[in-house]
């Protein structure tokens, strides 16, 4: 009887530790995710990227810390004005998202980010790079949509590319409108699977649509 009790307590105490461990992870992630809305400087971004990477290093089986680190590297690449440095950030973004992908294959959000990396690489030198990266980007966004048709982010980003593509090449505001509308509809209906899952994009899409008078009545 004594043994059984000890075993029971042991089991309970372990689950307790596990829960404590998990809540530590959730708390740290929540704190970091909350900070993403208030990023102002390059130092802020580097700080937060490093923080996500520390969590990723400590938690061997979690893909989200890598995902957010990768996302922040992409954002940093857009913010850095030194052109030659952009690819360095995107290389790091690539490494991080590949780690995420190895931990969680076939995740729609990971494909969104891979598409975003291609998009960023293309924008550095569209004339020479569109041939490689346009297809890669579309491939990733389409795969993201196929894996989760309710995910609003692929269409948000595809719409941006369409918007900035000259009209002669099938782009422009009119062509982008229906894509944005579909994305916005999905944003309004989107419920993240848990509190740590990505939910970025809605505010910036709405702001962008307002700024360019694209909101459909």
């Amino acid at each position: 009887m004594k043994n059984v009790l000890a075993l029971l307590i042991l089991v309970l105490s372990f689950t307790g530790i596990l829960n404590a461990q998990d809540s530590k992870y959730v708390d740290a992630m929540k704190k970091n995710i909350a900070m993403m809305d208030s990023l102002r400087t390059m130092d802020n971004m580097k700080d937060l990227t490093n923080s996500f990477l520390r969590i990723a290093n400590a938690e061997k089986d979690k893909w989200l810390p890598y995902y957010y680190a990768s996302y922040l590297y992409v954002i940093t690449s857009y913010s850095d004005t030194v052109k030659s440095k952009k690819d360095v950030y995107l290389d790091e973004a690539d490494k991080a998202i590949k780690m995420a992908d190895s931990l969680k294959p076939n995740e729609s959000e990971i494909y969104v980010l891979q598409g975003m990396i291609s998009q960023a690489r293309m924008q550095e030198d569209p004339m020479n790079r569109y041939m490689i990266y346009l297809e890669k980007m579309n491939g990733n966004f389409n795969k993201a949509l196929a894996l989760d048709p309710t995910n609003p982010r692929p269409e948000y980003l595809m719409g941006m590319t369409t918007f900035y593509t000259p009209e002669q090449f099938g782009g422009g505001a009119e062509a982008a409108k229906p894509v944005f509308a579909s994305s916005l509809k999905k944003f309004n209906e989107f419920i993240p699977k848990n509190e740590l899952m990505p939910k970025w994009g809605k505010n910036s899409l709405e702001a962008f649509l307002k700024q360019n008078n694209l909101l459909q009545k």
């Binding site: 004594k2 009790l5 000890a6 075993l7 307590i9 042991l10 105490s13 530590k24 740290a28 130092d43 580097k46 700080d47 490093n50 923080s51 990477l53 520390r54 969590i55 290093n57 400590a58 052109k83 030659s84 690819d87 360095v88 290389d91 790091e92 004339m127 020479n128 790079r129 041939m131 490689i132 297809e135 890669k136 579309n138 491939g139 966004f141 389409n142 949509l145 692929p154 269409e155 595809m158 000259p166 002669q168 090449f169 099938g170 229906p178 894509v179």
Partner: protein, 712 residues
């Protein structure tokens, strides 16, 4: 009960831990002692850590206790790990990070070569540049706007730094191409056989190239074919002198494409005045197919096969019996195939390839029937591995079996050459700023029955963020051409030593390069063989007694920054060369070299009309030509060569895909260019060698029909 006690201990420890924080402070520095901001410093396995500030300092608190590992990591530097003990006492630790030597951070050895690639950083050209330079969308025409390459109009080939066309080799997926150009008729150049669209990367070496390649005394053009295509697509091409089409089908791990084309220059040559007396202008049919199969994560199998057949005939002036003309006809038939596999197995980067080609020319020259068949079977493998922190090693071997079968009327000559070669090369990164490539190659030729040993060394030293110095030395061997080998059986290898030094600035959208070179030729093959044009000079006996040199300066400047939407480059080559070879009775400045060559390429993109406008101007000083009346051999020079060509590419979006309308004019200003003169046997009559027409015009429409984007 014990369990409960342990739980109690555990629980009582938790709040205690909170008050057990240890503060760690310090500074992160690089090996030169400068602060490194942005480094990630943390306790391994925990979330505790921070990022170093602008002055390199850091400070953070941790709840961990006892033995722990402090980690510092920063992109481009080796990870720092240090065992520490955490026991409430504040720690002060300064960290020095060592720069990581990786191929990505390190200086790239680039003496003697120009690279065009989408994938790599720090290259001088992009594949798109190849398509929009000059007027013909021909790879070799574009390369002739780079310094070191000569502008030769009367025959095809790459003439590099005083070298003849046979001294430059084209290599596709690691293997030499027996016949990179279409067959041509006397004094009229032909185009490259392979479309520039097939390749994702181009390295044009004007000297000092790697030990992985051989059999080219002057230059190697190293081409890498495209990997997996990215979409299923159909293309239709309509041109002033023909049409073609292709289809690429893409599956998950497989892609197949087929392409066919038919050209006929007869209608074009009837409309635009020709200086050539054509009987039947060139007509050709070609078929090709590409296959790609992804076998493992990194393993890709590539196969390419092509077949083409063409026909051309014309009348050449018979200078000894004017106004008589001699009839000349040519019917070539060419097969080419290349299969290769590349993979990464553990630490090893492996490549294996096989190629077979058969080229048949049927010539009728003034009633003489000439048949020239050439068959090449070759195989090559290379292996590459990182053997230490800063050293990579590459080795490999190749073998080529060539069968020549020539018939001149009833006379038949056969020759079988088996060439084998092996090489070892190492890339050593002493620091990120100093790198060396050291290699050695050995070759054996069955016909010559001799071995050779060719060392190759090159260095790169980075001066600042954007500029570097390069040095190269190498020895290059080449087996004499078939025309000589069938005449005499005691030949040795021809060889050349290259010495190259350059300075290169590779800024953001601005490139400057100046290169000095000296090339010493030894053992060049001498002897008279009666091929066109036949020179009226004393018969030279066969030997390896020829020699020569070439020295000069190549300058390149490219600027895509100063003028918005504009990109231009300027190349200048200064060349001094002399050689005694082939049927040359003495040392002379060869016919295929100009002392000064200048080319200017200017491109502008017009966003509003989605069009590319490009101009190419080439100036080359006069080249020597053979005049039997001049006692000095090759003592005469032509007038200088000038050409301004332009092209417009209009990019349109039809059928949800991109289409291009390409229009070009060669020699827009109508410069009267003369490439040289041909003399009658008595030297009394001469005929200029001219381009086939004063100007030439090209119009093509390239339509692609892809899959619709699926997201709408």
């Amino acid at each position: 009960m014990k369990g409960i006690i342990s739980i109690c201990i555990l629980v009582s420890l938790i709040p205690a831990a909170i008050y057990c924080q240890t503060k760690i402070t310090g500074k992160v520095l690089d090996s030169k002692g400068s602060p490194l901001p942005g480094a990630n410093i943390y306790i391994k396995g925990s979330y505790d850590g921070t990022t170093s500030k602008t002055d390199g300092t850091f400070s953070f608190k941790t709840n961990e206790k006892g033995d722990a590992i402090l980690v510092a990591s920063f992109v481009g530097y080796k990870k720092y790990e240090n065992k520490i003990t955490l026991k409430k006492v504040d720690l002060k630790i300064d960290i020095q990070l060592e720069e990581e030597i990786t191929q990505m951070n390190a200086v790239v050895v680039s003496a003697g070569s120009f690279e065009a690639s989408d994938e790599k950083k720090g290259v001088i050209l992009r594949p798109l540049d190849v398509l929009t330079t000059g007027s013909t969308a021909d790879l070799y025409t574009s390369l002739s706007t780079l310094p070191g390459a000569q502008k030769i109009g009367e025959t095809e080939g790459l003439f590099v730094r005083g070298g003849s066309a046979s001294e430059a080799k084209t290599i596709i997926d690691e293997m030499i191409v027996q016949k990179p150009f279409n067959s041509s008729v006397p004094d009229l150049p032909s185009r490259g056989r392979f479309s520039p669209m097939l390749f994702k990367g181009t390295v044009f070496s004007t000297g000092g190239y790697s030990a992985q390649y051989g059999q080219a005394l002057s230059s190697a053009l190293i081409l890498k074919t495209q990997d997996m295509p990215t979409q299923t697509i159909t293309a239709i091409n309509l041109m002033v002198y023909g049409f073609g089409g292709s289809h690429t089908q893409l599956w998950d791990n497989t892609a197949v494409s087929v392409e066919g084309a038919y050209y006929n220059l007869n209608p074009y040559n009837k409309v635009f005045p020709q200086r050539v007396d054509w009987d039947k202008s060139t007509s050709s049919t070609s078929l090709s197919s590409n296959f790609r199969q992804k076998i493992t994560e990194n393993g890709l199998l590539k196969a390419f096969v092509s077949y083409s057949k063409s026909e051309v005939s014309l009348y050449l002036p018979d200078l000894d019996n004017l106004p008589n003309k001699t009839f000349y006809s040519l019917k070539p038939e060419d097969y080419y195939s290349n299969v290769s596999y590349r993979d990464i197995l553990g630490d090893w980067n492996l490549f294996g390839g096989f190629s077979y080609s058969l080229d048949k020319d049927r010539i009728n020259a003034a009633g003489n029937n000439i048949a020239q068949d050439q068959q090449l079977t070759q195989a090559k493998f290379t292996a590459n591995k990182k053997i230490s922190d800063n050293t990579y090693i590459t080795f490999g071997a190749e073998t080529q079996n060539t069968l020549y079968d020539d018939t001149y009327n009833q006379l038949n000559v056969k020759l079988n050459e088996i060439y084998t070669a092996g090489f070892v090369e190492s890339d050593i990164y002493f620091t990120n700023d100093l790198a060396a490539k050291i290699g050695i190659r050995t070759e054996h030729s069955k016909v010559l029955d001799k071995f050779n040993l060719a060392p190759r060394i090159s260095f790169a030293y980075r001066l600042g963020n954007y500029d570097q110095l390069n040095f190269a030395y190498g020895r290059f061997y080449q087996t004499p051409e078939k025309d000589f080998l069938i005449m005499y059986n005691k030949f040795n290898y021809e060889n050349a030593d290259h010495y190259i030094a350059n300075y290169q600035y590779l800024g953001e959208n601005q490139t400057f390069r100046i290169e000095f070179y000296y090339k010493q030729y030894h053992d060049l093959v001498k002897g008279t063989i009666y091929t066109y044009p036949i020179l009226n000079v004393p018969v030279v006996p066969f030997s390896n007694d020829g020699a020569g040199y070439a020295k000069g300066i190549d300058v390149f400047w490219r600027d895509g920054k100063t003028f918005p939407n504009c990109d231009y480059w300027v190349s200048y080559s200064c060349l001094d060369t002399k050689r005694e070879y082939s049927n040359y009775p003495t040392m002379a400045f060869p016919t295929f070299a100009a002392p000064h060559t200048l080319s200017i390429v200017f491109k502008r993109w017009f966003e509003s009309i989605t069009s590319f406008l490009a101009f190419t101007y080439i100036h080359a000083s006069g080249r020597p030509y053979f005049n039997p009346n001049n006692p000095e051999f090759l003592g005469d020079r032509t007038d200088s060569y000038n050409n301004l060509s332009m092209n417009i590419s209009y990019v349109a979006r039809w059928f949800k895909s991109y289409s291009v309308i390409f229009f070009s004019v060669d020699n827009l200003l109508g410069f009267a260019n003369v490439y040289g003169y041909r003399y009658s046997t008595d030297g009394k009559i001469r005929n200029p060698v001219l381009p086939p027409s004063l100007r030439s015009v090209f119009l093509g429409i390239f339509i692609s029909i892809g899959e619709e984007n699926q997201y709408q």
